[in-house]
Amino acid sequence: MNIVCAGISHRNAAVDIREKFAIGPHELEETLARIRQIDGLAGAVIISTCNRVEYYTASVCPLRVLDGLRGFLQERTGVEDAPLYTHESPASVRHLFRVASGLDSMVLGETEILGQIKQAYAAASGCGATTRHLNKLFQHAFRVAKQVRSETQITRGSTSVGAVAVDLAGKIFGDLSGRRVMLLGAGDTSERTARSLVSRGVRTVIVANRTFDRAAKLAEEIGGLAVHFDHWPNAFDNVDILICSTSAPHPIVTRERLDPLLAARDGRPLFIIDLAVPRDVEASVNDLENVYLYDIDSLEQIVRQSLEVRRAEIVRCEKMIEHHVREFVEWTRTHISFLA
C-alpha cells in the first residue's frame, strides 16, 4: 500500500492560486466522495487551510491515482499546469509528519496546523473516507507532532511582537486575569496586543487617545474605558501593563513623571510596552525598581531570537521525524493489504 500526497502550499503557490484550490467545510464531503471514484484510490484525507491544500490518499497504484487527482483538480479549479507537488511513500509520509510538526509552516513551529490536520482527519473519518493505512498514518503523525513539540524547542518563544508582549506579561505577572491595561494611543499593533491580553484574562482596558472619539470607539469594542489623553496619570493607579503607541515627537512617559505614580503602587510590577517611533517612554524608566520597559526594537529582537532558536532545532526535528518515517514504512511492509 502506498501513501500518495498531492497539493499546493505557500511554498509553491501564491494566494490567488491557493484560493482556487481551497475547499470549504461545506464542500468537503462532496469532494471526498468525488475523489474516491478515482480508479485505484482506496481512501483519502483532505487538508485545506489558508496556507495549503493537500490530498493524502492510500493506493496500490500511485501513478494512476496521481493522474486522476491532477485531472480532478484541473477540472475543479480550471487552473492548467498548477504548481502541484506530489509525493509517494516514504516521501509522502515524511511530508505529513513535517507538516504536522510545523516544519513546513509559514511561521516555523506554529502549532495551529496540528489542530487543522486533526479536524481534516476527523472530517474524512466521519465520512468513512479513511482506510486502515490512513488511520495509522494520521495517528502516527499526531504522535510525531506531539513528540517534536515536547522534546525540542521548535515552538519556543513567540514569533510576533504582540505574542511576545503577551508572553512577557505572563513571565512578569503569571496569571493575567484581573490585571489592568492602559493604552496610550490607539495604534493597530497596540490594539491587537490589548486584544490578545484580554483573551488571556486581562480584566480592564483603559484607552487614552488624543482623539477622544477614537478612544471611546476602541474602548467600546474591547469592553474597556476611555479617558481623555491629558487625564491618563489620574487613571494610572491600578494599571499593570501600559502600552504606548502615540505619534508624539517626544517622550510622554518620563522617569520624572512616573516616579511619583510608582510610589502609590506598593511595589507591584509595571510592564511598559512602547510601540511608538519616536519612542513614548524615556529609556531610563527601565532602571526604575519593578518596571520592565520593552520598546519595539527589543520586542523584535526577541522575535528574532525565537526564530533563531526554532531554526536551530530543525535538524533535531528532522532526525526524530526520520525515525518515525522508518517505523511507519516498516509497519506498512508488515501489514500489506490490497484492500487497504
Partner: protein, 261 residues
C-alpha cells in the same frame, strides 16, 4: 552504612545538579522528572541516615557540626518537597540541589567535626529548640534560593534576554511571593524554636545568643519592611540571600558555643 547513605544522597543531588548544568548548557532546560526523582532519592537516603544516627545517639542527630549540616540539608529538601509543588516551583528544585549538594559535600569533606559533643539526657524542649531552628534554616535556605531565582529572572527581564531561563523560570511575581512566604515560614519556625529554647531554661552563651538574635531580628526586619512596602521584592530577595549567608556562616560558631566545655 551511614557513610554510604550520605554518599548516595550526595550523589543523587550531584545528578540533579549535573542534569541542570547539562540542560542549561544545551539551552533546553525544562524542570522535569530527573530533578524530582534525584531530590526524592536524596531526601529518602538522608532520612534513613538521620534515623540510624538518631537511634545510635539516642537523641535528635544534631550533636555535632557535621550532624547540623546534614540535618539542615534534610530540612531544606523536606521544605522544598512540601512547598515546591504547592507553588508550581519545580525549577526551585534545580536551584536547591546545588546548594544542598555543596552543604553535604562540605559536611563530608570539609574541616567539620564529626565528634558528638552534646550528649544525651537533654530536655525535650532543648531538642525541640534545636530541631525547629534547623528546620527554619531549611526554609531560609529555600527563601534564599527563591531570591536567587528572582534575581536571575529580574535580570533577564530588565536586559531583554529571551533565553531558556526566561521561559523556564516561574513568573517574577510568583517568585517574589514564594520568597516572602518562605521567609515568613522560616521566621515563625525560628520564633517557635527560640520560644522552646526559653522554655527549656537552658544556659546560653552571650555570643551565641547575640548571633541568633541578630539572625532573628534580621529576618524580622526584612519581613516588616516588606509588609509595609518599604522594601521592594528585588531588595527583599537580595536581603534574604545576604541574611542566609550570614546565618550559614555563623552556624559553626553557634554549634561550637552550644557544646559543653
Amino acid at each position: 552504612m551511614e557513610g554510604h547513605l550520605l554518599t548516595g544522597a550526595t550523589f543523587c543531588l550531584l545528578v540533579s545538579f549535573g542534569y541542570t548544568l547539562f540542560a542549561l548548557g544545551a539551552g533546553r532546560f525544562r524542570p522535569g522528572v530527573v530533578n524530582l526523582v534525584a531530590i526524592i532519592g536524596g531526601f529518602l537516603l538522608l532520612t534513613i541516615d538521620l534515623k540510624i544516627r538518631g537511634q545510635a545517639q539516642g537523641s535528635c542527630p544534631i550533636n555535632s557540626l557535621f550532624d547540623v549540616l546534614v540535618f539542615m540539608s534534610w530540612s531544606t529538601l523536606l521544605i522544598y518537597l512540601i512547598v515546591g509543588p504547592a507553588y508550581h516551583l519545580s525549577l526551585l528544585g534545580a536551584f536547591t540541589a546545588p546548594l544542598v549538594f555543596l552543604v553535604l559535600l562540605f559536611a563530608q569533606l570539609g574541616p567539620v567535626g564529626h565528634v558528638v559533643t552534646v550528649r544525651v539526657s537533654r530536655s525535650p524542649w532543648v531538642e525541640l529548640h534545636a530541631a525547629l531552628s534547623l528546620i527554619a534554616y531549611g526554609a531560609f535556605a529555600l527563601a534564599a534560593v527563591a531570591g536567587v531565582m528572582y534575581g536571575v529572572q529580574d535580570r533577564q527581564l530588565k536586559r531583554h534576554k529571551a533565553g531558556a531561563l526566561l521561559y523556564n523560570l516561574p513568573p517574577i511575581t510568583d517568585l517574589g511571593v514564594a520568597n516572602a512566604r518562605l521567609l515568613w515560614l522560616g521566621f515563625w519556625l525560628l520564633t517557635a524554636g527560640f520560644a522552646a529554647g526559653f522554655l527549656s531554661g537552658m544556659q546560653t552563651n552571650s555570643v551565641k545568643f547575640l548571633a541568633s538574635a541578630m539572625i532573628w531580628a534580621g529576618y524580622g526586619l526584612i519581613l516588616v519592611l516588606r509588609r509595609t512596602h518599604r522594601l521592594p521584592p528585588r531588595r527583599t530577595a537580595a536581603a534574604s540571600i545576604l541574611v542566609f549567608a550570614f546565618a550559614l556562616a555563623s552556624l559553626p560558631t553557634i554549634q561550637y558555643l552550644s557544646s559543653p566545655k
